[in-house]
Symmetry: C2
Subunit: 248 residues, 2 copies
DNA sequence: TCATGTGAACATGTTCACAGCT
DNA sequence: AGCTGTGAACATGTTCACATGA
């Protein structure tokens, strides 16, 4: 985990694949690890300056990429990449590779990346403000739909063009604004009540930056990003490295 | 599965380019997943208001905790917790549980949490500034030792009490300040050169917030936190949820 | 009695190697 | 010839169940 993934953080089971319309799609469940990598492939494929000679561009209009090329660009093993793509029902062409545009289309379909998702930020401190202004969010199909806090000092102020609203109003604001994803950037002690408010507002997908665990009903997906934990894993690496390299 | 109580992170999860573990510690090599959870246990054990009646506190001065209690507080499986602790060479007492203070001491030892680590931030934009002021960093044995950027507009300005310095000076600044961990919060395009500068400055542990992969020499550990990727995995969840529950 | 520590079953994820298709 | 798709081996991680020992 990434494992990122700490204390059971972001490890998980396969999830039912979106089962779209067109004839040939067998809806196997897509493993979580594969979903994460599909997002990476999509970024590489759609990045204009992805790889030196615009990825897989041949002279004619058709862009084709081999698993070896794309794997190198994404930093993964080619066989694993082919396995990942096989979950798309994708048809690469043997001896040739994958049609880039088709690939983009198919990955976008299963990831829901042709939708636009609106996100609510709860807890507008340092981190919340940074995320509100973070280009990486708006840039890839996600937009900030609302900012919430419980601090009366903050409510009403404007950050990144949005007025901070009372978390107590989430239940009205989120449905009205079409918000489906919540991001918690509160201090640790406020995270659970933030989650409760989001769940009450009909949110089923939460990204939690607060340390500690939050409890949510079944069916609500929580992904955790624990910055202190990432540092601690690096500290472990430093400790091992020094202990191992220097005298023992 | 509901992450968090159920976590890719980052790990899980994500596609971090890291050198294979050259198992280093005196006893057994500690699995990465276990390291992440040990950090979580440590947080729970040292949190003053961790669990209802201060964790495992009996009337006398000795605090004892069972795997079941601690596992519940940390949101993990008790058997897995016991296996994790077995890597410490820890000796719980059968029929009783674990001595809390001993446990804290042992986890701190393997994580290097009794050291203080100094961190350099590279790329002082929105996110970098937020992290510079983030309490969660200084709070757990990590301190910001330097801020770097390449933008002459930013160099010399002060953020969170530290003057932003030229990344070109990293090679002198990092050793002088005792910095051993680097955090990259640059835009995507600048991440590789940021990593190069850190490596040249003698840094072996890097936390990378920029999307895309960075290439580092063997022996340098890179952990990646990809915010857009986390959102995309939630978007996949939303897509599956909606497609699965609503009419098809 | 009761909770630890761990063998063994299970689940997930990664990589190899090659058959099979274009 | 060359690259995909996938069975099978391998690696890692999780959970069960119970023998063991305080």
């Amino acid at each position: 985990m990434t494992r990122q993934a700490g204390g059971e953080n972001n490890a998980g089971s396969a999830v039912a694949a979106a089962a779209p319309d067109l004839g040939r799609t067998r809806s196997r469940a897509i493993p979580e690890a594969t979903v994460g990598r599909l997002a990476v492939y999509l970024r590489v494929l759609t990045d204009p300056q992805a790889v030196r000679p615009a990825l897989g561009d041949r002279g004619d209009g058709v862009r084709v990429v081999s698993s070896a090329e794309l794997a190198a660009a994404a930093g993964v093993n080619p066989a694993g990449l082919r396995r990942d793509l096989s979950f798309l029902g994708s048809h690469g062409v043997r001896g040739v590779g994958y049609d880039v545009d088709t690939l983009i289309e198919q990955i976008q379909r299963v990831l829901g990346a042709h939708h636009h998702f609106r996100v609510a930020l709860v807890g507008i401190g340092n981190l919340g403000q940074a995320l509100a202004g973070y280009a990486g969010f708006g840039g890839r199909g996600f937009g900030i739909g609302a900012l919430f806090d419980v601090d009366v000092e903050k409510i009403g102020r404007t950050v990144a063009g949005l007025r901070i609203r009372d978390l107590a109003d989430a239940q009205e604001v989120c449905p009205a604004e079409g918000i489906t994803i919540g991001v918690i950037t509160t201090p640790e002690g406020a995270a659970q009540s933030a989650a409760d408010a989001l769940v009450t507002a009909g949110i089923f997908s939460i990204l939690n930056f607060a340390p500690g665990k939050i409890v949510v009903p079944a069916g609500v997906e929580v992904r955790r990003v624990d910055l202190a934990l990432e540092l601690q894993m690096l500290a472990f690496h430093e400790t091992s490295r020094v202990d191992g390299v220097v005298a023992r």
